[in-house]
Structure formats: structure tokens, C-alpha cells
Symmetry: C2
Subunit: 243 residues, 2 copies
């Protein structure tokens, strides 16, 4: 499994992902699930993926080939609107899955993939999309500022409580790390290293890209403080009337 | 959906459940999912259910009929060991599901049900079981003191952090309410009223049984304090090194 999260703020975009993949419990490995494609000062796109690793790698390969090919009819550097980028990734994903349709029918293997696509084209608003295995997609909104793919339930309650479009990039980054950490504690299919990107609106470059390992000092201190803060909050809860 | 939770402590048992059921989004209703069957001073059993409502009601009806019938070969008042009670409920559940096997095949409706069974027979240890739709079951353990059925993921992180067999019944009761409240905030298929039972080991009676409505003062203050405590913990998290 996997857990990826995108948050669209007034101030910009926050993207976070874990790196664990597994094909059964006896084949667990580490893969980056976050890819950035951009031209500084012109446009930035960040793609996060969950689901079948062969499908998601094939999609990323095709995106890269189209970027290299000046004759490609569409690419992330050619689209004029962000929604066209979501269209393009959705179509690639669906095509890659369909290729293995017969093999899938015979073996029951799931080749579906889900994506988050975030970014900005110069002169336009920054944006965040969730792309479904069928190739269609939805955008975030003011009322739904974050979107998740993969193992999303464990880490949702804290986001529901704190995430708001008015947050700073840094606060949203902290909420994303806490959400990933909570998920990892409760489910072994999600695991560190974590990748985090903070994108400041209109900067048109990746402002911060950080990898957190098990022993990264900031992650260690965040994890410890969060655990202690939760325990303090728990101990401070009101007593039952008979206590 | 539903969310039910059982915790086995050295001090006794804590059981909690929501009351929401739904058959599609246009048929949402409230049903108690917690049933107690016992003889004060002799034995107590508490059954929590998730899954198909027709199946779980049929199981509870059969349990009650067997309790009324002096000639029933097995009943919750006749079993000699707690595991025999789990065997019995598992067999009833599987039988009720199998009855509708053909209809299920034709319509694709899921008639599966999951149960938590907790209790104590005089002179024996108190116990907690999770009973699968297939009729087999597992018990809690020292390392796994809580078991969940239904919409279990949202409310698991807080339990993973605080639940230990050495907790008081009251602390475990608070953790259960917090876990239910977090789940309800993130998923509309789980909702208040909540039912809570605290069973003190060897008391052989239901020591506390409380229903929490939206406006129950204790629930209101617990919810408020927990929300504020979490926000305080979030605000106290360490800053990134560039802040």
C-alpha cells in the first residue's frame, strides 16, 4: 500500500508521501512516489502515485518521454491549462492499465493506479487534482482543501481537525507529517522515508523538498512532541461524574 | 457502516459502539448494536455487531430464543467456557448467512456480519473475542488488548497510542469515546448516539452502561476538550529549521 496527501492552501501547495510498496508481505520495498516535472519560472507539476507499481512507473516513463520528444502532441510542458495536465495523466494511466486487461482478467491482479497532480502554470491559479483509475479526476476546493490516495483513513482525523486554506505552508507541512506518522504507526503497509514538498504560490519552482528518514532529527522531535502532546490531551480529558 | 470497539484490561472490559446503520445513502437509521445477556452473579456476555442488519438481528433473535428455551442444546447461559460462547455465536452467524446464500449469489448483496463478544463466567477469566463472518474467531491478547469491527481505521491511531492492559476502566472508556468521536468526524456512516459499557472484572454484572447523545453534557465537554487538546498539541510542534 501507500499513503499520499496533497493540500491546497491560499499560500500554495503541500505534498507528502511515504515510500513503501509491497507485493504481498514477502516482497516489501522502497520506492519514491513523488515526481516533479517543471520549468523554473514557467510551470511546475508534482505527481504522487498509489496503486500498481508497474502502472505508475509506466505512466511516469511516458510522461518523461513526452517531455523529451519535441513532436509529442501533448506533454506536461505543452498543456495550456492545469486541467489538461490532469486529462493527460488520466488518459495515460487508463491506457497503461488497459494494455494488461487480458492478463488481469486471467490472474485477478489489480493494475489500477491513483494519482494526485498538483502544480501551477504561470499566470494561472495553483491547483490540486485527484485522478482516478478510470482516468477521470476531481479538483480540491475551498471546503475540501486536501485530497488523499492510498491508505488514507488512519491519517484523516487530524487533517479534518486542523487543515484550512488559510494555514501557512509550514503548518500544513507539519499536519502532513503528523498524518503520515499516525498512519505508519497503525499500518505496516505505510512506512518511512517520507517525502515532503512545499510549493509557494507563484514561485514557479519547488521551494522546499525534504526527505525524512527514521533518524532525521526534525522528524524524531516532531514525532516525540506529537506523541507527548496527544498523551497530555488525553490525560486532561474530563473525568466521568462518578470518578 | 458501524464502528464497534472492545478493550480487555486487567481491570475488566470496555465496550463501545455507535448506532448508525445504512442501506445506501437514502436509508439511514439508528439501531443499537450492543446487547447484554447475563445472570447477575453468575455470568455476563456483551455482544456487539457490525455488518448486515438482517443477519445480526437474526443472530440476536436466535440467542434470545435459546435463552428462553430450557431444551435448547446450547445457549449463552449453558456454555461452560467463554470460547464455547464464541463458537455458538459464530455458528449462528454462519447459519443465518448461509440461509440466504442463493439470494446473495443472484443479487450481490452482502449478508456478512462481524461480532465482538465480551464477558465472563464465574470463576473464569474475563474475555474478548472477534467473530468473523465465517464463524471462526480470535481472542484479544496482552499485546493486542483491543479489537474493532466495522469502520475501524479512523479511530485506531489514538488507541494504538494510549491503550494498555494496565489502564483503568475509566481511562479506557474515555479512549473509546475519543476513538468513536474521531471516526464520526471523518466518516458519515458512523454516528452518535454512542453506547458504552464498563464491566469490572469479577463483578458479574454490568457496572456502567451509558448512552451518549449529541447533547449529553459529558460527551460535549469531552469532545471540546479533546479538540482543544489536539490543537494545542499541534501548535506546540517544533518549527522547521528555516522558520
Amino acid at each position: 500500500m501507500t499513503y499520499c496527501l496533497g493540500i491546497k492552501l491560499n499560500a500554495g501547495l503541500v505534498l507528502a508521501s511515504d515510500t513503501r510498496t509491497n507485493a504481498g508481505v514477502d516482497y516489501v520495498s522502497t520506492y519514491e512516489k513523488m515526481n516533479a516535472f517543471g520549468i523554473e519560472g514557467e510551470r511546475q507539476f508534482i505527481l504522487l502515485n498509489a496503486g500498481n507499481l508497474a502502472t505508475t512507473q509506466a505512466v511516469v516513463n511516458r510522461i518523461r518521454r513526452d517531455l523529451d520528444d519535441p513532436d509529442a502532441p501533448v506533454s506536461l510542458h505543452k498543456v495550456r491549462y492545469p486541467f489538461e495536465a490532469a486529462d493527460y495523466v488520466g488518459a495515460l494511466s487508463f491506457e497503461m492499465q488497459r494494455r494488461h486487461r487480458d492478463a488481469v482478467k486471467e490472474t485477478g491482479i489489480n493494475v489500477e493506479a491513483n494519482f494526485l497532480l498538483a502544480g501551477q502554470i504561470r499566470g494561472q491559479e495553483h491547483c490540486l487534482f485527484q485522478i482516478y483509475p478510470q482516468g477521470n479526476y476531481i479538483a480540491s476546493s475551498r471546503e475540501t482543501p486536501f485530497l488523499q490516495i492510498g491508505e488514507s483513513k488512519y491519517g484523516k482525523p487530524i487533517l479534518d481537525r486542523v487543515v484550512q486554506p488559510e494555514m501557512s505552508l509550514e503548518d500544513a507541512g507539519r499536519s502532513a507529517l503528523v498524518s503520515l506518522d499516525s498512519t505508519m504507526r497503525s499500518n505496516i503497509s505505510v512506512s518511512i522515508p517520507f517525502d515532503l514538498i512545499l510549493y509557494r504560490k507563484d514561485s514557479l519552482r519547488i521551494d522546499r523538498r525534504i526527505r525524512y528518514e527514521e533518524d532525521t532529527p526534525y522528524y524524531l522531535s516532531l514525532k516525540k512532541e506529537w506523541n507527548e502532546g496527544l498523551r497530555r490531551a488525553f490525560r486532561a480529558l474530563p473525568r466521568f461524574d462518578w470518578e
